[in-house]
């Protein structure tokens, strides 16, 4: 084995313990070899660093969902906060107008979003108090505070039972999704898990790229374990399921109880829609 190869194997841990010891002993008695190893170690280190940053750059391109942005709860809190702020300013500048309509909006918003963090409420309350002190027409603002008041203890109680109202707490997402569904006014897609089971049968030679629904279970025939795949379920007026595999979308018709070949979706608008859903 030449020196170059030996150094290489030494630096990449490809030497046996015995050879390693021998090589280290040789290095001690040979300063030129030691110098070579040091230079090579620097080059190998540079290569490793380059590869590590390449992998990091690759990961940086992976979409990680809404983790970096605000959670729906934060957005809701923000919306309520802004609504109250806007109406406060409204009261401040127009003390003589009838406040009934904006007031009603505030109460409704508040009661429908009870999960709002306590700090936010506190901040809003403070804001309002400030306005109250500046306000000549005290009557109207007191009535507004009254209308918010019954909500306050409820929110506090919620926060006692759930102190860690965290952005990443999955239970918050669940509560939020039920709330959205209950109100029936939001068309925002919500992520949740499905009860559908999926099985892969890669041993079947006759069916290389097929699927079949058996009750609540779907069987995929083909070598699916070789690449990642995703099932998209869109539950609306019509429940539809799609398979995303190797950058293509396929329709999964759950009325098909027999083994059906997977058909690639060609419809560009549908593909665009599915792409959007996948990103969420």
């Amino acid at each position: 084995m030449s020196n170059v190869e030996l150094i290489d194997d030494y630096l990449t841990n490809r030497l046996s313990q015995q050879d390693r010891d021998a090589f280290e002993a040789q290095m001690k008695s040979d300063p030129a070899l030691k110098g070579d190893v040091e230079l090579q170690a620097q080059i190998v280190d540079g290569l490793k660093k380059a590869r590590a940053s390449e992998l990091k750059a690759m990961l940086n391109k992976v979409p990680v969902g809404g983790t970096t942005s605000m959670s729906p709860l934060q957005i809701a809190a923000g919306v309520v906060g802004t609504a109250i702020l806007v109406s406060s300013i409204y009261f401040y500048f127009k003390p003589d107008t009838n406040p009934e309509i904006p007031e009603a909006t505030i109460t409704q918003e508040n009661s429908s979003k009870q999960n709002e963090p306590a700090e936010k409420i506190a901040a809003i309350e403070e804001e309002k108090k400030e306005i109250t002190t500046n306000e000549d027409n005290v009557e109207e603002t007191t009535s507004e505070q009254k209308s918010v008041a019954p909500v306050e203890p409820k929110t506090a109680a919620k926060n006692v039972t759930k102190p860690a109202l965290d952005v990443v707490d999955p239970s918050v997402e669940l509560t939020e999704s039920t709330a959205t569904r209950g109100s029936g006014e939001s068309s925002k897609p919500v992520r949740a898990s499905s009860k559908m089971e999926v099985e892969v049968d890669s041993s079947n030679k006759k069916y290389a790229f097929h699927y079949q629904f058996v009750g609540n279970k779907m069987i995929l025939f083909g070598s699916f374990d070789k690449s990642l795949y995703e099932i998209l379920e869109i539950n609306g007026n019509i429940n539809s399921r799609f398979l995303f595999y190797k950058e293509n979308y396929y329709l999964l018709d759950d009325s098909k109880s027999e083994i059906t070949p997977l058909q690639i979706i060609q419809d560009k608008t549908l593909i665009q829609k599915l792409k959007e859903y996948r990103k969420k």
């Binding site: 080059i43 992998l55 990091k56 995703e230």
Partner: protein, 190 residues
């Protein structure tokens, strides 16, 4: 109409993910990255780190995990997430220590460091950039991912292991020459 989207990444159990990573499947690494992103970044964010630092630590941890898994010396006795979590913890602790030291000792530490090494690193990085895509890949796979010649041949579509071997030898020779030439220009060779 209320639309609800259910999204599932199915049938990727722990063993399968780990097997794929061991085989050098980058898609599996991306899958893990996405899966545990919240969990891992939360660790840093709730411990006085920024979102950016959290992402950086998590990515570094995955690179460590990748290399360990690739080397074949890693036997998974716990869940992958537990393992990555502990790497994140260690990396973040180290980073916090480093920050603390920097604020206490200011520039004392920096001055005792070998001033040549960042310059050397830059030279090597520059040489690598000039090396060409295939050469760089062959060398990175060999030295970082510790791939066998067979794996390199498969991954880069070479005819056989001999082609991979020759490529690796020639590319390394070329890189060595480039680095040496640059080093002597900067008087780094003594």
């Amino acid at each position: 109409m209320a639309l609800r989207v259910f999204k599932l990444n199915l049938q990727m159990d722990e063993k399968e993910i780990f097997d794929r990573i061991q085989k050098g499947d980058e898609k599996a690494l991306e899958f893990i990255y996405k899966k545990y992103y919240r969990m891992m970044t939360k660790l840093v964010i709730t411990n006085s780190g920024t979102e950016e630092e959290a992402r950086d630590v998590y990515q570094d941890a995955l690179v460590v995990f990748w290399q360990k898994a690739r080397s074949g010396n890693l036997v998974m006795t716990a869940k992958i997430s537990t393992y990555i979590y502990s790497i994140c913890q260690n990396l973040w602790r180290k980073e916090l220590d480093r920050k603390k030291r920097l604020s206490h000792e200011e520039k004392d530490v920096a001055q005792t460091m070998d001033m040549d090494s960042p310059e050397r690193e830059k030279i090597i990085a520059r040489c690598l950039d000039q090396l060409g895509e295939t050469c760089r890949k062959v060398l990175m796979y060999y030295y970082f991912d510790e791939m066998s010649m067979q794996e390199i041949a498969d991954k880069l579509g070479f005819a056989n292991t001999d082609t991979a071997k020759t490529k690796k030898y020639k590319c390394k020779q070329k890189l060595d020459e480039m680095v040496k030439a640059q080093y002597s220009e900067h008087d780094f060779l003594d």
